[in-house]
């Protein structure tokens, strides 16, 4: 390297030469350096720096940009909701267009990028993209400017980029072809308008949750000579003064004017290229994309700096299609020179294409990836035609599902119409927490893709006591069968994972407990006391055997024998899939107390069987070697499933656990670890889940909802029920007249007002708010804006806002750590609140006439008595947690109210009782206050209280009951969660 001994002086001189040289046009540098440098070694030094800059990714060492956006912030007519992506180049936020009432994505380019030349470029991107209107193009609505910020308003897309999709594995042929048709169609429209994308790559193609393909980021599109309409952006301008200072590099800006050289030494003109990081902002750039900072999707003429036209996009399109089909880059390599060499000199490895690739698709790829643009396919539309033809042809061997246009009726489908059955892809927080225990150091975002499939509204996955799992996956993981109930009764519903809708399968009336044949062609199920089967793609259902009794599971072996469990007090039986009389397979060990065998699960070897053995000791998973007849207890648990890679999963209650399993020894080969929690399970120990042979996990989440419940005279009435996907209500508080509730909900939390008379819920805050308490006049609520909400730094603290919303919130007290209000005294002069103020536990404070003083240092979760003279609170200062009462605001004495544990104190309307939680119960202690406080009696208010948090209840001010936040499990829900690479996760854990 040579510069180890470099002296500071020399460093300074080289730096000056470098900075000067890089500002020159590339063709003048050589001569300039020749003249300016003292000697050859100095010149080599400068040139190495120039080369280093040239080779560095455009976001190299760039700080993580912070737009200052946060949920709740308003930008023009947009309300920021959530962050979608961030990187050195900028941020993308989900926002709501409050004028048009739609959700949009706002792209904030990183600092300085909107100024000068690059700003013009970004603006042109917006204009060009806005002129495209195609179903497969991500819409750009406008270039917004507000509060001095520039941003691009785009269609909000939910899904994965192709880069993410292909990272795991190749995309199945028919799927890849269908997506490629959409991409071709989008690019075709752009080309028709004279626009070239120039940065087409998997990370720029989104597959939305509903399965639509969207080409994104026409950020580098330039207007070709053919498209004379937009004079703003000829490629000439692009090669102009593109460097606007080092601090402004990045995003989609080219590396610089002609500074990028190929192996052949030919300069590349600035207009042709980009860093490989252009789509950071869409969250779609994989680490691999940043590998060398240059896109491996550039056509040879782009690399050589030659003029480019739409054929550069055709090259990139070929690269994308190849990558979809093979799961590999067409032109890969670990370093810039390797990638460049591959693009310029080598053919892609055609052997990588799946065998089922139709010849016409192979030919198309060849024509897209010709090095010489003159030999290349000219019109992207031609590619679309070829692909559509290939799709219309017979489905490729090994591909059970055709994707092409099909007549649902012909396949035995009964469409349920357009009632939103959409594929959702999102990171499920629930359950992922469990992963981190298995996979130290991993952040949840890195784990398997989670998805959730929604059944049409009104259709729910069947939940019943004595039943086998209501979900099944085809061996290839591409088809989900679920027993579900809708208006039309009980059916087996089928959902091909890449298609939009779940549909009921004809002939499956009253069908439950679905399972697949090993080739995935058939779905077996129980209905009306019979074991039946139906083609997975639709068709006539046929009977296999009589199987009276509760259907408790079945498994279809490679030898076409079906092992099943029918009856709650039965062993396993076996029958040919072709039909016949079932024979008993297993024998119950009556002396050992066994009452039932259920949940049979055959390993793909057709030899090893797992099942649940039920006895008074509880459920245990047993293994049976069908050949030798050897049987062994495996572990405590039920509903065993094999997972590829040598694992079994079992459930214990609503926890799904996994362990390595050795089929030869019929025993576990490792410890049992929980992987998913909160899965729907039945009293029969059945858990509703399935694992496919290729390692996809599907499960029915235990449908916990949080309801606001009014309890009065032992009658519970649900005031408001929030679906599982939204946050639970927190700290509901009755208004002084008892007619309204204030509460916090959501992440970040906002304050809501529920009118108990009309049932209407109104959102009161929009910039963060939680833990509301009412002012004593009932006109306003005081709430906290937490410093951890990410709102503007000026806002954290206590605020008061009128509930009629007629005026904004008034700041009462800024606070920069955790805090929350307790309540106002009746005269409205004092506000009690609790906060962390320099201590490990929160303490209780009072705000009076702008002055703050401490009331208590050893307690929190306080509530003021109706007369404001007493404070009930929770403290763990003396032994365990107990509830105490102290005079307020001078806490000079205290009396213990609870015995044997207490928390979450509240006052009765008349102030004569102190409520508190003790264990699962809600208690009330009657007190007499005089010189001191004396408990005269205690009663149980609710045997089953147990809300999520002791503080999540309130007592009605006129004695009309209580309000609670109660989690409730819904029987049978309309969603199935999917973990796409479950087996892969387990394999990675093992490493």
């Amino acid at each position: 390297m040579g510069e180890e001994e470099q002296m500071p002086d020399q460093h300074r001189r080289v730096k000056e030469l470098f900075l000067e040289a890089r500002s020159l046009p590339s063709d003048e540098r050589a001569a300039w350096l020749e003249a300016a440098c003292a000697d050859a070694s100095e010149r080599a030094e400068v040139e190495s720096l120039l080369a280093a800059e040239r080779d560095s990714p455009s976001d190299y060492l760039m700080p993580q940009y912070d737009s200052g956006m946060a949920p709740g912030v308003r930008v023009g007519r947009y309300r920021i909701l959530d962050q979608l992506g961030a990187g050195g180049m900028g941020e993308v936020w989900l926002a709501r267009d409050e004028t048009l009432g739609r959700r949009v994505a706002l792209k904030f380019p990183a600092e300085g990028l909107m100024g000068g030349h690059f700003g013009r470029r970004v603006r042109r991107e917006a204009r060009i993209a806005a002129s495209l209107d195609h179903h497969a193009v991500c819409r750009v609505f406008e270039l917004g400017e507000a509060d001095g910020r520039s941003f691009i308003v785009m269609e909000y897309l939910q899904g994965d980029t192709l880069a993410e999709r292909v990272r795991h594995r190749p995309i199945p042929l028919d799927q890849a072809l269908a997506w490629a048709v959409a991409v071709a169609s989008a690019v075709e429209q752009a080309h028709d308008k004279g626009l070239i994308h120039r940065d087409l790559k998997p990370a720029n193609v989104m597959v939305t949750r509903s399965g639509q393909v969207k080409v994104m980021d026409f950020g580098l599109a330039s207007v070709t000579p053919a498209g004379a309409g937009d004079g703003a952006g000829g490629s000439g301008e692009e090669s102009g003064p593109s460097r606007s200072g080092g601090g402004k590099m990045g995003w989609t800006e080219p590396h610089g004017t002609g500074s990028w050289q190929t192996d052949s030494g030919e300069p590349r003109s600035g207009d042709a290229a980009t860093g490989g990081t252009g789509s950071d902002d869409t969250g779609g750039t994989s680490a691999a994309d940043r590998m060398v900072g240059t896109p491996p999707y550039m056509a040879p003429e782009q690399l050589r700096g030659r003029p480019t036209d739409q054929r550069a996009d055709i090259w990139a399109f070929g690269c994308v299609l190849y990558e979809m089909l093979t799961g590999r880059r067409a032109f890969g390599g670990g370093t810039v020179p390797e990638v460049v060499a591959a693009i310029l000199e080598r053919e892609p490895d055609w052997e990588e294409l799946p065998e089922s690739t139709p010849p016409e698709v192979r030919r198309l790829l060849g024509r897209c990836l010709r090095k010489d643009p003159g030999q290349r396919l000219r019109h992207i539309g031609d590619a679309g035609l070829v692909l559509e033809e290939a799709l219309r042809g017979d489905p490729a061997p090994g591909s059970p599902v055709g994707v092409g246009p099909s007549d649902p009726a012909a396949r035995g489908w009964r469409s349920v119409g357009g009632r939103g059955a959409a594929l959702f892809l999102f990171a499920v927080a629930a359950g992922l927490a469990a992963w981190s225990t298995l996979r130290p150091g991993a952040s949840p975002g890195e784990t398997a893709v989670h998805a959730s499939i929604s059944l049409p509204s009104g259709v729910r996955v069947l939940r019943a006591g004595l039943i086998a799992p209501s979900v099944a996956l085809s061996p290839d993981g591409r088809t989900l069968a679920t027993a579900a109930t809708g208006e039309d009764g009980q059916r087996i519903w089928v959902r091909f994972l890449h298609r939009r809708e779940a549909l009921p399968l004809a002939g499956t009336e009253n069908g439950v407990a679905p399972f697949f044949s090993p080739d995935g062609a058939w779905i077996g199920f129980f209905a009306d006391g019979r074991l039946r089967r139906v083609p997975a793609a639709g068709g006539a259902a046929v009977d296999i055997a009589f199987a009276p009794g509760f259907p408790l599971g079945a498994t279809w072996g490679v030898d076409d024998r079906i092992i099943f469990a029918a009856g709650a007090r039965s062993a396993l039986h076996v029958v040919s899939a072709e039909g016949g009389v079932p024979e008993r397979l297993t024998t119950l060990d009556a002396e050992g107390g066994e009452v039932s065998h259920r949940h049979p699960e055959l390993l793909a070897d057709g030899r090893t069987l797992l099942f649940t053995s039920l006895s008074p000791a509880g459920p245990f998973v047993h293994a049976l070697d069908l050949r030798s007849g050897r049987r062994a207890e495996v572990t405590r648990g039920a509903t065993p499933q094999f997972v590829p890679g040598g694992y079994v999963t079992v459930n214990r209650g609503s926890d799904l656990l996994v362990a390595a399993f050795d089929p030869r020894r019929l025993e576990l080969a490792g410890s049992v670890v929980p992987v998913v929690q909160g899965v729907a399970a039945e009293a029969s120990h059945t858990m509703h889940y399935a694992v496919s042979r290729d390692g996809i996990l599907a499960y029915v989440p235990a449908g916990t909802r949080h309801a606001l419940v009014i309890v009065q005279d032992e009658v519970e009435e649900i005031v408001d029920e929030r679906p599982r996907t939204s946050a639970r209500p927190v700290r509901p508080r009755f208004s002084p007249d008892g007619a309204q509730l204030a509460l916090g909900a959501g992440v970040p939390s906002e304050v809501w007002i529920h009118d108990l008379g009309t049932g209407a819920a109104t959102r009161l805050t929009f910039d963060g708010g939680s833990s509301p308490v009412w002012t004593r006049d009932g006109d306003s609520v005081t709430f906290v804006v937490s410093p951890f909400h990410g709102t503007a730094p000026d806002r954290p603290g206590l605020h008061t806002k009128p509930v009629d919303g007629r005026s904004g919130s008034q700041p009462l007290l800024p606070l920069d750590d955790w805090h929350r209000p307790i309540g106002w005294t009746p005269d409205g002069q004092m506000l009690a609140f609790e906060a962390f103020r320099g201590d490990a536990v929160p303490s209780i404070w009072v705000l009076e006439k702008g002055e703050v003083r401490r009331v208590l240092s050893d307690g929190y979760a306080g509530r003021l008595s109706p007369d404001g003279r007493w404070l009930a609170y929770h403290s763990e200062a003396v032994g365990g947690p107990e509830v105490y009462v102290t005079p307020f605001p001078e806490a000079d004495a205290r009396w213990q109210i609870s015995t044997r544990g207490g928390s979450g104190a509240a006052w009765s309307a008349d102030g004569a009782e102190v409520y508190y939680r003790s264990g699962d119960r809600l208690m009330a202690a009657r007190i007499e206050t005089g010189a001191g406080v004396r408990v005269t009696s205690r009663r149980v208010v609710l045997e089953r209280f147990a809300p999520s948090w002791p503080d999540d209840y309130d007592v009605h001010p006129q004695g009309q009951g209580l309000v609670l936040v109660r989690p409730s499990e819904e029987p049978g829900d309309g969603e199935v969660a999917i973990v796409v690479d479950f087996a892969g996760e387990l394999a990675r854990l093992r490493q």
């Binding site: 280093a52 800059e53 080779d55 080092g246 601090g247 150091g441 750590d817 320099g838």
Partner: protein, 193 residues
């Protein structure tokens, strides 16, 4: 962090600003702890998919320690200069521990994992640290600009204010440092030289 500590930091910043370089070490130690505390708390509070950013950490530390004590603007620059070094030390130490743990088998999850992983997407922090030490001997200000930009997430104008130099100077240092570091770390520019 107690209020007395906050007061101490304010005093230290003032002293440091006034040229008392002895204050720096103590300030650094305090900030180091504070940033770690903030990171740990974020780990608990933030939703899982929200990755923590160094900018947010440093900003929060600044808000908690300095802003409410009405320290003058100049001190913000001083604060950031020290905080960026503290941040770098924390992250590099963390990256080093992760590496060691990886070799040892298990890596206990830690609050800074997401930060380190995000940064290490583009660069090996331990190697960067070594290279920055070397750069600091050749051109201390260039290294400082990298600290402020990369580790504390400051913008070019903010760095200019923190170091009391012009924006153009910061941009020149930044461009030169990036090229120099890339050559140093990745052998960039050597491949076809």
């Amino acid at each position: 962090m107690t209020r007395s500590t906050q007061g101490e930091i304010t005093q230290l910043l003032t002293a440091w600003g006034a040229g008392e370089r002895d204050a720096e070490e103590r300030l650094f130690a305090l900030l180091y702890e504070e940033l770690r505390t903030i990171a740990a708390r974020h780990r608990q509070k933030e939703r899982a998919h929200h990755s923590l950013r160094t900018t947010a950490l440093v900003d929060e530390a600044y808000m908690r320690l300095v802003r409410q004590h009405q320290v003058s603007w100049n001190s913000r620059g001083h604060f950031m200069a020290v905080a960026s070094q503290a941040m770098r030390r924390i992250l590099v130490d963390h990256a080093r521990r992760r590496k060691a743990a990886k070799r040892g088998g298990g890596i206990p999850p830690a609050p800074l994992d997401s930060v380190v992983l995000a940064l290490e997407d583009s660069v090996d922090l331990v190697e960067l640290d070594v290279a920055l030490e070397k750069l600091a001997r050749l051109d201390p200000r260039e290294a400082q600009v990298v600290d402020l930009r990369f580790f504390a997430g400051l913008t070019v104008p903010e760095v200019a204010r923190a170091l009391d130099v012009s924006r153009a100077t910061v941009e020149r240092d930044w461009v030169a440092a990036r090229a120099w570091l890339h050559r140093e770390l990745d052998g960039g520019g050597r491949a076809d030289a």
